[in-house]
Amino acid sequence: MSLALSTFASAKEASVALNEGGAHYLGGGTLVVRAVNEGDIAITGYVRTTDPALTKIDVSGQRARIGASATMASIARCLELETIWRAAKAVGGPAIRNMATVGGNLFAPAPYGDFTVALLALGATVHCADADLSIDDFLADRDNSSGRGIVTAVSFDIPAADSFRFLKVSRVKPKGVSVLSIATIIDTDAQGVVANARIGLGCMADRPIRARAAEAALKGQPLTKDGIAQAVAVIGEGTDPITDPIASGWYRGEVLPVHFSRLLLS
């Protein structure tokens, strides 16, 4: 038997309906309909909103605001967001990218959620119906929606092309589930020394996480083999890589420093 879909005009109304329990928010359907198809009995219905603001992508100066219902395909077509296309295009095949939303990606469990790894490196703000949160705080308390309402948008400073790097490692090309993913924002001074670094990792926990030890180790170092050595040595600190049919946690942990090093030196 199918589950009933309730449609609301605004995010506020949808948030109220969600709080009544059981129903799950329906974005693109790639997570929640899949879960229902797999027999997840915890889901008792769908809630969605048709508010057109949730599908909008606004770029004002260097600041981007992407509605939670914007798809990966729409991001990959937005010329102002070219520097992060690689992350949007890392999500699934063409059909999935036409459906998968920014909001949904925030909730995707590892090994999915590659775009959120990029948002984490970008230091995005997650806008909800009743609150705005840093992406770090949002991810830490992701499964508790009380007090924040549904996610309506994310916003971030568009990075310079040479400061944002993204890598998705998969076994199947060009579309495959992640072995791991890495996103970095690295600002260097005129001498090429790292002034600031934010590093997001995917598949290194049940959700995207920061590599804080490596961020600290990069600061003040040049992006050379010797300069990044300490960061590479500690990139796995605080991680708990997942084990799934794609790769074991041990394997993910072993190859993380290799791919991290290649990404920094690329």
Partner: protein, 160 residues
């Protein structure tokens, strides 16, 4: 459960149906509307066998709720041939012996059509990317890629 009305255009025909709320487009097409061309593979969004084109974009009918398609233009493999003449992608797949067991074929055809609608002269890499969400367990990707490129050349010659 109460049934709700849904209207959309399916392969050029206006359709009005009553469906259970929450029914996937895949089940609405096959069980209610008699269009058996989308195939049910994984129902997880992984295999692409159920691919259809909704308002010009390739989507997975197994993960799309039918009532979210209200007012949409939906294309399936069943509607591609006109007056007994196969669509160029269908013709090229047939001529190129690219069907093998055939289960993935409807989804592959829709993925290829979505590509050629947007990129009439694709590169090989474009084709590989376009069908990357469609799994063929006969491992028949090379003939399919060749067929899509042949269909593009055929379209180009006909247009010229």
């Amino acid at each position: 459960m109460a049934r709700i009305p849904v209207q959309f255009r399916l392969n050029g025909d206006d359709r009005a149906e009553f469906i259970e709320s929450g029914t996937t487009l895949f089940h609405a097409l096959r069980d209610t509307m008699g269009d058996m061309s989308p195939k049910g593979g994984c129902h997880q969004g992984s295999c692409g066998a159920c691919s259809v084109i909704i308002d010009g974009e390739l989507r997975l009918s197994c993960l799309t709720l039918a009532e979210t398609c209200e007012g949409a233009e939906i294309e399936t493999t069943a509607g591609l041939g006109q007056d007994g003449v196969l669509h160029p992608v269908q013709r090229a797949i047939l001529d190129g012996f690219a069907t093998q067991c055939g289960f993935c074929t409807p989804g592959m055809v829709m993925a290829a059509k979505a590509l050629l609608d947007r990129t009439p002269n694709p590169s090989r890499e474009d084709v590989v990317e376009a069908i990357s969400g469609n799994i063929c367990r006969c491992t028949g990707y090379e003939p399919i890629i060749a067929a899509v490129l042949a269909a593009a050349r055929s379209n180009s010659q006909n247009a010229g």
